[in-house]
Symmetry: C2
Subunit: 148 residues, 2 copies
Amino acid sequence: MAELYLEDFAVGQRFISATHRIDADQIKAFASRFDPQPFHTDDIAAQTSFFKGLAASGWHTAAITMSLLVKSDMPIAGGLIGAGGEITWPRPTRPDDVLQVESEILAVTPSRSRPERGTITVRSETKNQNGEVLQVLTSKMLVWRKPT
Amino acid sequence: MAELYLEDFAVGQRFISATHRIDADQIKAFASRFDPQPFHTDDIAAQTSFFKGLAASGWHTAAITMSLLVKSDMPIAGGLIGAGGEITWPRPTRPDDVLQVESEILAVTPSRSRPERGTITVRSETKNQNGEVLQVLTSKMLVWRKPT
């Protein structure tokens, strides 16, 4: 796919990523490093936790979402550079969930001060194989204008 | 430190985490898995990128921030369970930065429908060894009331 510049984006465009299957080993490995809490690292302890079973760290879901966006979804010229965003996790990511990201362009905003760039606002829903939404990320990303 | 319940939190309380030094190997390892873009994985290519040098994925900074919160900062009873939040990365995280998280309680909100729980709103600034802010995360976390 051709690399995308600011001029290539329009409100309402949609992008769909490839998929990634997460398993219990991935969940525990990520969590033991970055979110070492029993409901992310221990099947038995997780049963009696708030999550009632092993659940991935939300930051793991976020990281997988990023990998899907980078590898398969939006080939933004110069790379995917996020300034930040809002993130929610409506339900936990479970072992053997198959994650896929559906993104929609909410806004395309040329920079007032820097004519060579702008930002896009993107809403990315990360769903499992049943279509249940695991994460909603609304992010602003830096996008370059086509070189003249 | 004792575990913290909703009654233990008050607006304006501050918490400071331990520190974590990030290095180029960590940056490349995380990025090759979750954010495989040249400015996160390749020192040379990064030099001519937007970041002008190797920079950590923002999601890596977020994951380290979570690890610091979990391991050393806020011992919330039942664990740190986030419903979501807002995240920004004012400047890139660089190799050999020493990260530390400073958190402040912005709001303490009992649940109207579920008397056994509530939420706290927490602003967490992740800074490097020079006091520069690398990430600002404002998150809502689930907190339990003291068992009666």
